[in-house]
């Protein structure tokens, strides 16, 4: 069956204005072909997907044709359209587990279309659903679980099995791999190819350009409701349109290496005005969310990428030569040149200079210090051991990436390191002091030294707080003595540091008026305002568009470079890790299987798991 979209225009009625969601879109979906529809959130991708199933909200006006085989969906009434749904076209919806009804087992939901649409008897429908699920690698036990009991990958496979249950000729895949690890992602990509081989048409809606390039046959790039470029998917890296190019550049892949450059410069304190992200408004029409960018057409994302740090790397005459680039440099480092010293414990009294046979180092601080030190730290939740005893050191000023598959214990370890969790056994020390003891004695002091960035930025801020209140919150808690003027100054500084606007109107905005990238930056500003030594970030960019992700990552790096922040970054994305990590720690099943300098680990993996992860990441 051939699917053809002709001159499709969708507008949404709002109170007193109209929103153009899709503007004269043409698209052909051929059997046996995978078409990738790429673009940022709010570009109209999802509206197109919904239009293909006739699921647009009543407030939408549709012009043009949507031909599913012979039938023009726009000309049919609701009953007739309902007849076609799932038989002609099925969707793997975007929100993962949220797209499944929490109250029913996966199996029931997968079998449901068979029973209701085809009138298949319960037992048989279940058998067929089980078979479908098994084909996607979900066993009988997993099939009988509730959505909240399944992992992200399992949910995605379940949704796919559900979409395939009536064997529809057209399959719409709406961000099918968001928030999945490379291994699961690869597995799904292979599946998509297999499905295409069965002469199905696949529409792959995604912002994951790597996935699109690897999986799809053709790609359509959509921006603000208009298709900007069609091209063979394999040529995504050689795209011609500036938008596509910009989009592709923003996306982390395995073919780039981490830039080690970036030294403190004036750019750091340059204020950014009217960031377009701020203008993203959410419109709700009867409960259906969709976003619409109202930035002027000329505002291409690349024009708003945070300006890179200026090259300004000359060393001061006095002091340590390395100080300007050193992440742990103190004022003293810049004033006086360090002598050759013996290696010593960080807090021991300074010994006499003594030329001897001992290990020496020419650094006032005795070399890179271990800011964080986990010794035989372990953690269990009830019978489940989330973390087997682990040793991990984190040196000041370095970026350490914790990588591993979902559920390998990354987050647990990170939260232990951040002091957000108490270890069952072993100890965690921070700057030489026992973390647990420190928290008991001086919780506020400790909290101020460790900043945490969460995976879901939108949920980590209260939507009742304004921007100002969100950023000011840590200081309000930790420094109630601060007067209003000082507080405001620090908030503004912090916002500027993360390249967010500082105008009063912006300060009064609420999170729901911001896009995710801005919120994540807000979280960053909130973490930075307390001037922490350690920043623990748990998948800080997994919820973001590539363009935004790039900005946030860049920002993180800049800040790390600029402020000497120590960064512990949890990610499942080896590509991302590779871009920014000094050191990689690889986890599998609650164990730290390998840890070392990023380059070494990546080029010569010592553990099979690392090798597998690398292999998976490179094939994507």
């Amino acid at each position: 069956m051939k699917t053809e979209i002709k001159q499709l225009t969708v507008t949404y009625r709002e109170d007193d204005h109209r929103l153009l969601a899709l503007d004269r879109v043409d698209l052909q979906l051929l059997p046996g072909r995978i078409t990738a529809l790429v673009g940022e959130s709010g570009s109209g991708k999802t509206t197109l997907g919904k239009a293909l199933l006739g699921l647009l909200p009543p407030a939408a006006t549709v012009d043009g044709q949507i031909l599913l085989g012979e039938d023009d969906l726009t000309a049919l009434d609701e009953t007739a359209r309902n007849q076609l749904r799932w038989r002609r076209a099925a969707v793997v919806p975007q929100n993962g587990a949220a797209a499944l009804n929490p109250a029913y087992r996966l199996l029931d939901q997968v079998a449901e279309p068979l029973r209701r649409q085809r009138g298949v008897k319960r037992r048989e429908a279940e058998e067929r659903a089980l078979a479908g699920l098994a084909e996607l690698g979900l066993d009988r036990d997993q099939a009988r679980r509730y959505p909240h009991e399944l992992s992200g990958g399992q949910v995605q496979r379940g949704l796919l099995a559900m979409a395939l249950i009536l064997d529809p000729p057209l399959l719409i895949l709406d961000e099918p791999t968001a928030a999945l690890d490379c291994l699961s992602k690869n597995h799904l990509a292979q599946l998509f190819r297999r499905l295409a081989a069965q002469q199905k048409s696949l529409l792959l809606i995604t912002h994951d350009l790597a996935l699109a390039r690897q999986t799809a046959d053709q790609a359509a790039v959509i921006y603000l409701g208009r298709i900007m470029e069609y091209l063979p998917a394999g040529q995504l890296d050689r795209a011609r349109h500036p938008y596509t190019v910009a989009l592709y550049r923003s996306f982390p892949g395995m073919d780039a290496v981490r830039d080690l450059g970036g030294i403190r410069g004036d750019a750091f304190y340059r204020l950014l005005h009217a960031h377009p992200a701020v203008n993203v408004q959410q419109h709700r029409t009867c409960g259906h969310d969709h976003q619409h960018l109202v930035t002027p057409a000329s505002n291409h994302p690349e024009e708003h990428a945070p300006p890179g740090a200026d090259e300004d790397g000359h060393a001061p005459a006095a002091g340590c030569l390395f100080a300007p680039r050193c992440t742990q440099a103190e004022d003293a480092c810049r004033r006086e040149a360090p002598a050759l010293n013996r290696l010593r414990e960080p807090d021991a009294p300074q010994p006499d200079i003594d030329q001897g046979h001992e290990h020496q180092i020419r650094c006032r601080r005795g070399g890179i210090i271990d800011l964080l030190c986990c010794r035989k730290t372990s953690k269990s939740y009830g019978p489940v051991t989330a973390l087997h005893p682990v040793d991990l050191e984190l040196r000041a000023g370095e970026v350490c990436c914790l990588v591993g598959e979902s559920g390998s214990g990354k987050t647990t370890l990170a939260m232990l390191a951040a002091g957000a969790l108490e270890p069952d056994r072993g100890r965690v020390s921070f700057a030489g002091r026992d973390l647990a003891d420190w928290r008991r004695r001086d919780p506020l002091g400790l909290a101020a030294r460790i900043g945490i960035i969460h995976q879901q930025p939108a949920e980590a801020v209260s939507h009742r707080f304004t921007v100002f209140e969100i950023v000011a919150e840590p200081l309000r808690i930790q420094r109630p003595d601060l007067d209003a003027a000082a507080l405001e100054q620090r908030v503004l500084t912090s916002l500027a540091e993360v390249r967010l606007a500082t105008q009063p109107e912006f300060l009064r905005r609420y999170p729901h008026q911001l896009n995710l990238g801005a919120i994540q930056r807000l979280c960053l500003a909130r973490a930075l305002i307390q001037q922490p030594q350690l920043l623990v970030a748990d998948e800080p960019t997994s919820a973001l568009d590539p363009s935004v992700q790039a900005k946030v990552l860049k920002l993180l790096l800049e800040l790390q470079i600029e402020k000497g922040l120590t960064l512990l970054l949890v990610t499942h994305d080896l590509g991302l890790a590779r871009k920014i990590a000094d050191r990689l720690a690889v986890m599998e099943a609650g164990r730290l299987v390998e840890s070392g300098p990023a380059a070494r680990v990546l080029s010569r993996p010592a553990h099979s798991c690392t090798a597998r992860l690398i292999a998976a990441a490179t094939t994507t």
């Binding site: 951040a418 919780p443 909290a447 879901q456 949920e459 801020v461 209260s462 939507h463 808690i477 609420y510």
Partner: protein
């Protein structure tokens, strides 16, 4: 801010709710100045139908029904608010404490709530009336004490969900104290619940007053909507009943409608996400 007020102002729920409450409040505050008669004056022809002198007629005790209505409204508003606010305070405290601390305190509070809910209210009211002087303020407080478990349970359920939300945990990791978390995060988050609960509590208090009056357990001399209803019901077979029974019921309905509408619209005001609906 002005734009926000404009938006709010255009909300029909708010307009209607506010107008209703203002009307009732105005009537109860200014009413006594406008009433032609002393509501306790028993010197008119009992059970006479409306006339120019008596807009709603005269009740069984020879009192002007319109004057009685206006005074009752004021007493009832006051009574309902007292019972409602106290019940809400207790409920919110109990619910939040149970949700926040969990464990034995949660079990203790919730089972206490069950016990209070399970005890027949009349028994408790009679018991307390026997030991304390039964004036309306006392009754309102007793009703509050009997009614808090309802809100406590609802608020607890919501707070339990909130407790695990990331922004709260984030604040906790910033070292926030329990007081701060309650004040800045939990209390405002649950605001819509309070309004709804408050409207429900006011309703319960006024209905209970009417019920107790009906069962003969409440001071018959008190002017209140509930008392008016319970008296009027005794003469349902006389021509006068619509003028006597319906006005207090309508006032009560308007009061509850006003509170509910206001709750619905303020919910939007306090939840920035809903503002653009």
């Amino acid at each position: 801010m002005p734009s926000e007020f404009n938006r709010i102002r255009r909300d029909p729920w708010l307009t209607v709710g506010l107008l209703l409450l203002l009307l009732l409040a105005g009537l109860s505050l200014l009413g006594p100045l406008l009433t032609p008669h002393d509501p306790h004056d028993m010197s008119f022809m009992p059970l006479s139908t409306p006339s120019a002198q008596h807009w709603l007629g005269v009740n069984d005790g020879g009192m002007d029904i319109y004057s009685e209505l206006v005074h009752s409204l004021r007493n009832t508003l006051w009574f309902g608010l007292l019972a409602g606010v106290c019940g809400l305070l207790l409920g919110a405290t109990g619910g939040l404490a149970a949700a926040w601390y969990g464990g034995w305190l949660d079990q203790l509070l919730m089972r206490l709530a069950d016990i209070i809910l399970a005890l027949p209210a009349i028994l408790v009211l009679i018991l307390l009336a026997a030991f304390f002087r039964p004036d309306p303020a006392w009754l309102a407080l007793t009703l509050a004490a009997l009614a808090w478990p309802n809100s406590a349970k609802v608020i607890r359920a919501q707070a339990l969900g909130l407790k695990n939300q990331l922004h709260l945990q984030a604040a906790r990791r910033m070292g926030a104290s329990v007081g701060y978390l309650l004040r800045r995060h939990l209390l405002p988050e649950l605001f819509p619940l309070y309004l709804v609960a408050l409207a429900a509590k006011i309703r319960m208090a006024v209905f209970m007053e009417a019920t107790l009056a009906f069962l003969g357990l409440f001071d018959p001399a008190r002017k209140s909507l509930g008392m008016m209803i319970s008296y009027a019901l005794k003469y349902y077979y006389l021509e006068i009943w619509p003028y006597w029974l319906l006005p207090p019921i309508i006032c009560l309905t308007l009061l509850i409608m006003g509170a509910t509408f206001l709750a619905v619209s303020l919910e939007k005001f306090f939840d920035p996400r809903l503002r653009e609906l």
